[in-house]
């Protein structure tokens, strides 16, 4: 609706808008619309839409970024689906998510519940937990790589004090992924906590009070009131964490570079290596579309499935 037509004393145009409600504006504002839209539309076309099309086009070719592109049709996709390295990359990504998500959610939930009560310096404490969220991934990964240094790291030294011989962490194929998961959960704990805190504060006090009058135990109040009413926030955390989890890269690149022995090679590391190490831009593009398809599928399934467990209001 245009501003002018919204005015109460603009009767001459009224009949026209009634007859063709959808074309009310027409191109009357074309100049203004262009002025307002082009600053974002031009870069969006240049740096998002064209690369999107380019990526799909590249995925249908074999290309080393230097010599001529060679058409292979769906060859890259077929090859990737049967490729053990691709499968390993997806499995490592799932391993990361399977470790990271429960850790960060349960930790964040515990903190949110604790910090939802009145206590001294509560604001300061929340701020401290949020600190790693604003720190860049590269810094977090470096700090943890140093903390978890197998020979001179302070974590293994502390474990030694209580008689535990610490593992090789990021240098050990079995411990490399847990190291990355630990650092990632540490970084995102505050984010999850803040989202869930906001969710907790949106729950009306009366519900808890009513249940207390009925003699419900703390656990039952949590299980049957807090958790269901917190489900929209939980849903948000899970959706965002999965989208980000499938694209995990920065911390892996810094902490292990996909190693040792490929034990932490995740999908985005694989895309990066295919392009810049193996000169296979076509296969890399195909893999990025497979990743996108998977993320999209998982997100749609969650949105469809939310009816079953997400309670609004």
């Amino acid at each position: 609706m245009s501003v002018r037509e919204a005015l109460p004393d603009a009767p001459p145009r009224a009949p026209v808008t009634h007859a063709r409600p959808k074309r009310r504006g027409g191109w009357r504002y074309a100049g203004t619309v262009a002025l307002f839209l082009l600053p974002s539309l031009v870069p969006l076309v240049l740096y998002t839409l064209i690369p999107m099309v380019g990526s799909f086009w590249t995925s249908l070719h074999e290309w080393d970024l230097i010599t001529e592109m060679r058409w292979v049709g769906l060859g890259n996709y077929v090859e990737l689906i049967g490729d053990p390295d691709t499968r390993a990359a997806f499995l490592h990504t799932l391993y990361f998510i399977a470790g990271y998500l429960p850790l960060v959610y349960l930790g964040g939930l515990g903190l949110a519940v604790l910090l939802n009560r009145a206590m001294p310096a509560r604001g300061l404490l929340r701020g401290v937990y949020f600190l790693p969220v604003i720190t860049s991934w590269v810094v977090v990964a470096l700090m943890w790589k140093w903390l978890l240094n197998p020979a001179s790291g302070i974590v293994n030294w502390a474990l030694g004090l209580v008689g535990v011989s610490g593992p090789g962490w990021w240098t050990d194929p079995d411990w490399a992924m847990p190291s990355i998961i630990l650092a990632s959960a540490w970084k995102d704990l505050g984010f999850v906590m803040i989202i869930l805190l906001a969710g907790l504060q949106a729950i009306p006090r009366e519900y808890q009070e009513a249940a207390m009058v009925d003699g419900a135990t703390a656990w039952r109040r949590f299980r049957h009131i807090t958790l269901p009413l917190l489900s929209p926030s939980t849903f948000f955390v899970v959706v965002i964490s999965l989208i980000n989890g499938f694209q995990v890269f920065d911390q892996v690149q810094i902490m292990t570079g996909g190693g040792p022995g490929g034990a932490t090679q995740v999908v985005v590391s694989q895309i990066y290596d295919l392009t810049f190490r193996y000169g296979r831009a076509g296969a890399a593009s195909a893999l990025s579309w497979l990743l996108f398809a998977l993320v999209l599928l998982v997100t749609i399934v969650q949105i469809r499935g939310q009816r079953r467990w997400v309670t609004y209001g």
Binding site: S2, P51, L115, G127, F130, V138, M143, F249, F292
Partner: protein, 290 residues
């Protein structure tokens, strides 16, 4: 459920609860406090490591109050990489990218919220679709595109993908939709055109949304690693995450230098955070409630 029974149970519970209230509260506080220490310790340890003399860095047991503490590591940091320039790069790229996104997104959001034109809904859907594109899908063709225009290893290439933000358009359109149209109309009566309504009526009223978006935009730019890693080769165009990663690649075992770099890159954002903490946290909390 019987009304009296409930009351009796809750009274009994209250007395035991009162008895245990204090120890419980202290236990809760201990858990939260220890957790907070676990959050702070890695930062503190980075600072301590950065001032430990090089030959003592790898020694076990670690030294919490290093003897002969020095700023040598910071000196070596500046010898290896043009670190001040890298810090400045991150700062101005972050500011520029945030400003550009604010301007382009707010204008597009105004068009989508207030200007009627054919195909508006379809175009908005296109904007939303780009929102779902993960960065990994875009980086390879973006690199090729930049190379075709000879833009590899330039400031422009760093900024280009962040000029427009579909997320910003979406967020700000929501905010503009909540501004009552009566305000626009009053301005029209005063003879204002769309540009003046946008500048003097709508923008001041969506200031909280603009601030939220600015925080997200700056954080994303400041922390971005994958795109700079692909497009930047020379140290003088690097931003902090890439500079740090490069430093780490060169000094794999010199943790004092690597931690010095980490400290330098955390401090500016930490200062900003101290001032904007309430707003940052409120913004993130808001994003989860929608």
């Amino acid at each position: 459920m019987g009304e009296p029974r409930g009351r009796i149970r809750s009274e009994a519970r209250t007395s035991t609860r009162a008895l245990w209230a204090k120890p419980r509260r202290m236990a809760r506080y201990a858990v939260v406090g220890l957790g907070a220490l676990a959050m702070l310790f890695p930062f503190a340890w980075a600072v301590i490591t950065s001032i430990t003399p090089s030959d003592a860095v790898l020694s076990v047991p670690p030294d919490f109050t290093p003897e002969g503490a020095s700023l040598d590591a910071y000196g070596r940091l500046l010898e290896t990489l043009p670190f001040w320039r890298i810090v400045l790069n991150s700062a101005w790229i972050g500011a520029a990218s945030t400003t550009l996104q604010l301007v382009t997104s707010a204008m597009a959001a105004y068009a989508f919220a207030r200007l009627p034109f054919p195909g508006r809904g379809a175009l908005f859907a296109v904007y939303l679709a780009t929102l779902m594109m993960p960065l990994p899908v875009l980086v390879v063709p973006l690199f090729i595109e930049m190379r075709a225009f000879n833009l590899v290893d330039t400031y422009f290439a760093l900024l280009a993908p962040t000029i427009a933000s579909a997320f910003g358009v979406f967020l700000l359109r929501q905010a503009i939709n909540q501004v009552p149209r009566e305000f626009d109309e009053a301005a029209v009566l005063d003879g204002a055109g769309h540009f003046r309504i946008f500048l003097y009526v709508v923008l001041p009223l969506i200031r909280p949304a603009l601030a939220t978006f600015a925080i997200f935009g700056f954080m994303a730019s400041w922390n971005s690693y994958l795109w700079p890693l692909i497009i930047i080769k020379s140290p003088e165009f690097m931003t902090l995450p890439l500079g740090l990663a490069t430093l780490h690649g060169q000094f794999t075992t010199q943790w004092d230098v690597v931690m010095a770099g980490s400290v330098v890159s955390v401090v500016p954002i930490l200062i900003l955070y101290v001032f904007a903490q309430k707003h940052v946290i409120a913004s993130v909390a808001q994003s989860g409630l929608k």
